[in-house]
Symmetry: D3
């Protein structure tokens, strides 16, 4: 019953840093509001997103993964989320049926009120769409009465795709602009945990500022609301509501 | 200042019955919650959507328009909205600059918190996209400081396209499913004012039931929420929010 | 040679009830006209589409599958089709190379004049697109001279995607509206075999009525043709014809 | 009543040669089958599609238009169609309300069983989409009981967009491949009437051959049907049928 | 003949500042390389894009337009372009046939090797797509032998759509990333001429930095090429080339 | 170091003849200019694209593959490319992780300046999109520092999709028209090596002529440039440039 009392969210991240750049604001915002936010990192991004570490020399996959895990745990802590690692390997990320069930079981356990994951297209990164599709299929399985009959099934939590690196090339179009002004400092602190990808710190700061300006535009410049930083999301399902304002 | 105290909405309807079939639920729902909902009918639909009246014989455009106005006023009253008629003619609907300014002035006066209008594509009905584009351009003009300088400009109210008659053919995809269960009786009463289009009563009842089932699906069948009737809407702008659940 | 004398059709259904809701009219219509219509159910939908059965308690997958098979056989009989079950499992449905060849062999045996299957997108149900892609790839293999050389290859039967549960969300757009007025009673009788999904009976009755109204619109309200019920289909290939009327 | 006895078709051509390159096969095919096929040329293409004539020197718009009219009449005769010229001017083609009604009146008079016109997108030629939209809106008006009440309204004839010069750039995708093998000689004779655009003769011969090969592919290479020449069309409305083969 | 010797480009800008934010880099880059770059400002943006000026009070449209003209001329000078103003008015921008011919005449005079203009969709700004369509249709007319026969027609210069304010909402997808690193200082100096829109200075600086990072990504991080600033463009026509590297 | 001195290109072909019909011009053109062009044939197309051979009778897969290999090698020689065969089998083509790494290793070895492969959609041929996706994912892996650390990673070579058999049905839209006039004779000689698919010789000759006419159109009919033959390509990534003409 406690499950019902506390709200929760699930973030499915292909590599161990994606959830920070792309969804750090959403995580901090909802954690601050009392949500249990849980992050699943499908891989450490040890091959494809750790160039700086490899260039240091004397590296092994084990060491790289350990570095990446520590960075991700530190970031999750700052954002207020719990985190786990599936360690599936990256470049390429692959998921078999057992992985699908493992993720479906996380859905069942977390009972998320919403889900964050990657965009379904990304010509620069095939691991990202794979993660998005895995998250979607796991959600569907966790909804099925016939999967582990007797367990509590999940509802129909909305799924939001976070922003890819080159949004237009991924046919990603945000229909939600999340105001993360109040948690920006926290998100930037989490970003700074990603020592191996420092070149992205300013890139994603600018992304946040641009989405902030756009959010402000979409509430109207006449509005008294101050919005400085934002995150964009694309919904995969229609929103059910009784309020259009 | 009173303007700020009361919420409002604007509905731009190509013909005098469109707002009933397509947005009657949204109007009743928000009127019940205290919104001033204002409907602009650009035409009476006297040529294109009054077949039954014409078939009676002994008809003139003046009489048809009068019939249609009475029906629309009765429906608006039931739904709790104010209504006005631009009488631009239909089949084809055409709008010049003066009409655009006239509608921009309505935006300025109403200061809507949201806007409802037609889909931007409809191969079966060229008046509908024209109305949608007119509404959009009027909104843009009403936002401009340089239009009638000194007047209070409007904010950036979200625009929702209501459901066309054959949704897939219009490339219309709902991203909002509005739960209109609580006002369905009212909507159906308004629908019944449309004596000249009785063949559509059951059609739009079924639309409401289908959208209701879909809304229920999208909150999850496990949810205790009862939803029997719905209306679908497609947003034209991203939603700004601090809450993803 | 008899193969050439009798027309035939093939229906590839992800779960054992899909062919009823989505293509029951097409099956009955063509069966009545003398076609051999053959249905392949890739799974029983035992996990994902048998919620009511599971809720009864004391259930096992074997019992659920048996129930579902009986229902599907009864429905196929009413519609006039033969039916077989691949029993691949659902949620998730998966198909290896051997399954692909098994289905290609069915294509070779049936030599279908047209093929019915699912839409290629469905964010609510990943089994459906998988079935559609499997059907398409099997069709391609069955066309190849080099697959089981010496066997009679198939022609290029048109493939029609039947209507998903939430059509717009699946980017499904019907380009064919099939008039099923003459077989509606039969389709509804088949629908009633699906005891475990009674909540869908009225939903798909309304779908049929809406598509009927739309079909009537697309032949013209002035036409004397009476159409009360329809089914929508999306073609995957261009139609070859000598007649545009 | 005679109206009902004879089938008819309407072709709306932006410039006076478009109907030949793009729809000559469809016209000849249906004329041969007894249809009254009527062509409306909205302009002569005197500015934009008569380069060779202008280069001769000593030209005036009047002479160019006369040349073009003679060519078009000769081609229509070969194809078996009647033809009329609206002489609206080209580059740019523009149509006011009166032109719209004029064309709607042609629809009423012809009572077409199908309509052929341009694609709705063409970045190389803005007159073409304008013609397509004009044809569509005129069709809608001719369907309305309230337009010239008392006249016989038209049904809902299918509208097919013929092939633009650079199909992919126009987002044009054929869903109908018309087998014009039996009338190809006739179409090529009509093409040869277009003395001013000889550079296009071979281009459109190749188009016909490519569409022929594709048509053959889409009936299946195993089929005994011989198809050497084709024309591609994109439907704007769903097809209503009782037969999927 | 000199026309042939010197390369040229044409920029069609809806309002008098658009060419600076959106194409300042391209202009400076090509001007530096010896192109004659000519800018046409269809309006001054006096109503819709001069909010700061209007808020000063004691403003008239005449004064606003004068301010805007001075700013635009100063920016054009810095970028190395010539500039002219059509003064058509904004919010709404409208263009009749005479304006179309006026712009076609500019095309004829400039004989551009490429054309820059707005995106063809923008739900936030209806003047922008109108400008893009006007530019495209003028280009088509300027290509026609029959328009002002005897004059030198233009070739088929590529048309590039520059970046709108909220790119994804405009369905704008860049297929060209222009490296403007070498002229960024110049562009930023031009941006600073726009005293009335200071809130956009940093916004478009960030746009340039993001497009710079993306350009670098698309040549490969291993490449020695330094790219810090970029501009994105969407082509409307295929590129003709003999070199794919 | 030599690697850096010589330019190179990689072609990933699903079946052993695809590179000839679809990219023969590009290969010959760049080989003539000194590029090392390397072709990988994933399969021989022994099942799906060797109908004529199978019809001869007395065939085995081994013999068919040998024939196909000889034809492909002869064609590659004429075009000036090196070639290798992965022999993965066709109809269906399937690729596991090892194949992916094998292709990534080819990318590393070739260090291509551009990549040619299939379109990402093709409802007629599921092997083609599989090849395109395999090529794309291999390219991504070859870019990763963490894949075989210490090896030289590749840059970000542009990827071009060559023309499928029925372009519009594959949602393929060329944004590059390659002028292959100078190497057409060579391409046609290579085409003639494909003895088993003689029915395609004229088809792809016409494709080349049509793309040639379109290329000419897109540089402008007034241009002195002679273009008789072309090949169309669709880019998957934005082009980075400093020159828009």
């Amino acid at each position: 019953m406690e499950k019902m009392l506390k709200k929760s969210a699930l973030v499915v991240s292909a590599h161990s840093a994606d959830f920070v750049w792309r969804a750090g604001g959403a995580i901090a915002l909802h954690a601050a509001r009392g949500y249990d936010v849980h992050v699943v990192c499908l891989s450490y991004g040890e091959r494809g997103e750790s160039a700086r570490l490899w260039r240091k020399g004397n590296m092994t996959e084990t060491i790289v993964k350990q570095h990446r895990q520590e960075e991700a745990e530190a970031a999750a802590k700052i954002l207020g989320a719990s985190i786990e690692f599936f360690d599936l390997g990256d470049y390429p990320l692959r998921a078999d049926k057992e992985t699908l069930f493992r993720l479906a079981d996380v859905f069942r356990k977390v009972q998320p009120h919403f889900v964050l994951t990657h965009s379904v297209n990304d010509p620069y990164n095939y691991d990202h769409p794979l993660a998005a599709n895995l998250a979607q299929e796991a959600r569907i399985i966790a909804q099925a009465e016939g999967y582990r009959p007797g367990e509590t099934i999940i509802g129909a939590p909305p799924v939001y795709c976070f922003e890819p690196h080159q949004p237009e090339q991924c046919h990603w179009k945000p229909d939600v602009l999340l105001d993360i002004t109040s948690v920006w400092e926290q998100k930037y602190a989490a970003i700074q945990c990603m020592a191996g990808q420092e070149h992205l710190w300013e890139y994603y700061t600018r992304v946040a500022l641009q989405r902030g300006v756009q959010a402000k535009r979409n509430v109207g410049i006449a509005s008294p609301k101050v919005i400085s930083h934002g995150e964009g999301y694309q919904s995969l399902f229609p929103r059910v509501t009784e309020d259009l304002s």
